[in-house]
Symmetry: C2
Subunit: 336 residues, 2 copies
């Protein structure tokens, strides 16, 4: 609902943006000023598997609390940008599928526009993160930024000529589901040999859990055990730091697979820069970026190898929420 | 050199375009009217391995003869579009490398502009072909066309939002060099497991030559022998037609590899349509398009599979020369 105009509002009217990161485990709303500097925010746990109505209410409440934290009146907000997990229809503003939320075909844009009385813009969360890196992070002012974010899945995004690269009716750059190994391991999507089935965090955790169980990764076994839910990026980084060579070997092999797949994407898109982000990269940036770049370079044609640039993301957890707000600003300002 | 203006010229001034297809074995110049209807053309064998100067002269002569064939005065030509093999710098108009011509870093655009006194625009030959299909063929008015042209190599091209997708300083969409098989067969580029090493015409010819030698492809053995130079797309199609099941199996397996790689590219770009062209597809469109589409569909996420559209190219040999002229028209008209 649109709030009554309050002429006592201390800020300039119509100059604020809201970014929203709808993650599988947490949601984050941040209010930004016209220069996209953060003024206030609110973070909440995502319930997951709730029905759509309840989760939508929690989204609205989180946005309202961020506005209160920033001391900004809703009437001065120009638009809301939302980064959503999974594929979306950017035109219609529909979340096709967000398995962690139990969502399917949710018209989130309409819901938010009705509730807050200002335009909303949806983007895939990785696309939003890459757009954030393009505007304020490791991909600034590049003509083409390819972002690859290895985590439980492996997300990809691309900003080309200043805009998020997208399909006619859906987000794309699903590098996690590029087939990289004929008859390879089974992926969560039902296919075999997808990049994320070969080299995602779950594949790494499964391989390292076996090493731990067999006694080849004593530090990992002691600190994290053999439950995949506990073998997260931080635990892997610590185990390598502590000398678990088997874990390092597994992580390096996964990074090499990602690098090889990136070489394929570089042959297609010739990006100015490849930005690596996500949990695994944040936990061990040097090892991961180095191993990815080496493998990518090994598989590139000389004219592509010479201009290859692989860098870690610099915005960390804020990339999606900031990128979503910045993308909303771009789309809404361009449309006016 | 710019010719003297001839006011007796029977045609409207400044309304003609020249397309040029610089192939490894033939070159083709065609003169088009303002609606890109062909008026005259000239085809010549490419000498190959000649020095750059001699080949450039042959290019100029071929263009002059096409102008004579069309009865058009050079002064009425608005621009020249050239489709070149191998990677190019579209901005600077430089051919980086054309192995069949023995070329390296040839500033073809400048040479042509100096010689003919009108603007010239370079594109990679597959990009030009895909642009031709976008303007006049199988990809008309699509927001994103992905073109894949399997031949001796496997070329790719993409038209996105009405423009050829390109890197900052080079053409891209090199789908032939996407790695598809870890430790796979050696590619001409020096890498292992590139798509064209696994599924290009040379790989198919080598596998079928072995089958023929072993007696498993009697028709192919009789008609084409076991020399890879003679086992071309037409010979493969005839052998399949005549009942060489081993050849069909090899071709289908190659098409399936191409389809699997295309699934990866579809996950990245979400094209509206995938256009298949080149010698193998022209020789056996139904078998090839069918096998590619089946394999691609098998490897796609449901939301991508539902919108997949794979079609054969419709412009045949003319796609590159027409696409090059049309692209020059687009670039030069937009710049004015």
């Amino acid at each position: 609902m649109v709030q009554e105009r309050n002429f006592m509002d201390k800020h300039q009217p119509g100059k604020y943006w809201i970014g929203f990161d709808l993650g599988g485990t947490k949601m984050l709303a941040t209010v930004y000023d016209k220069d996209l500097q953060p003024l206030g925010s609110k973070r909440r746990r995502t319930r997951g598997r709730d029905n759509t109505g309840v989760e939508s209410n929690r989204i609205s409440q989180t946005i309202e609390k961020a506005l209160a934290d920033a001391d900004i009146d809703l009437k001065n907000v120009q638009g809301i940008g939302v980064g959503c997990p999974g594929p979306i229809d950017p035109e219609k503003g529909v979340v096709y599928e967000a398995p962690n939320l139990g969502w399917q075909d949710v018209p989130l844009r309409k819901t938010l526009e009705k509730q807050f009385g200002c335009p909303a813009v949806l983007a895939n969360d990785v696309d939003a993160g890459v757009y954030g890196e393009y505007r304020f992070g490791a991909g600034q002012s590049a003509r083409c930024v390819l972002g690859v974010f290895p985590g439980t899945g492996i997300g990809g995004g691309c900003v080309y000529d200043g805009k998020i690269f997208r399909g006619r009716d859906k987000s794309c750059m699903e590098i996690g589901h590029v087939p990289v190994m004929p008859d390879g391991p089974l992926c969560g999507c039902g296919q075999r040999g997808c990049l994320e089935a070969v080299a995602g965090r779950l594949a790494i955790s499964a391989a390292t859990a076996q090493a731990a169980y067999r006694g080849a990764a004593p530090h990992l076994l002691r600190e994290a055990g053999t439950d995949l839910a506990d073998i997260r990026s931080g635990a892997l980084a610590e185990s390598i730091e502590a000398g678990d060579r088997a874990v390092e070997k597994i992580v390096r092999a996964a990074a090499a697979h990602i690098g090889t797949a990136i070489a394929g994407v570089v042959h297609l898109l010739a990006p100015d820069v490849v930005v690596l982000g996500g949990g695994l990269v944040e936990a061990m940036p040097k090892l991961f970026v180095g191993a990815v770049e080496t493998a990518a370079r090994e598989h590139l044609l000389p004219s592509f190898a010479v201009s290859l640039k692989v860098v870690p993301a610099t915005l960390g957890d804020d990339s999606t929420v900031l990128g979503a707000a910045a993308w909303a600003e771009h789309v809404i300002s361009t449309a006016c």
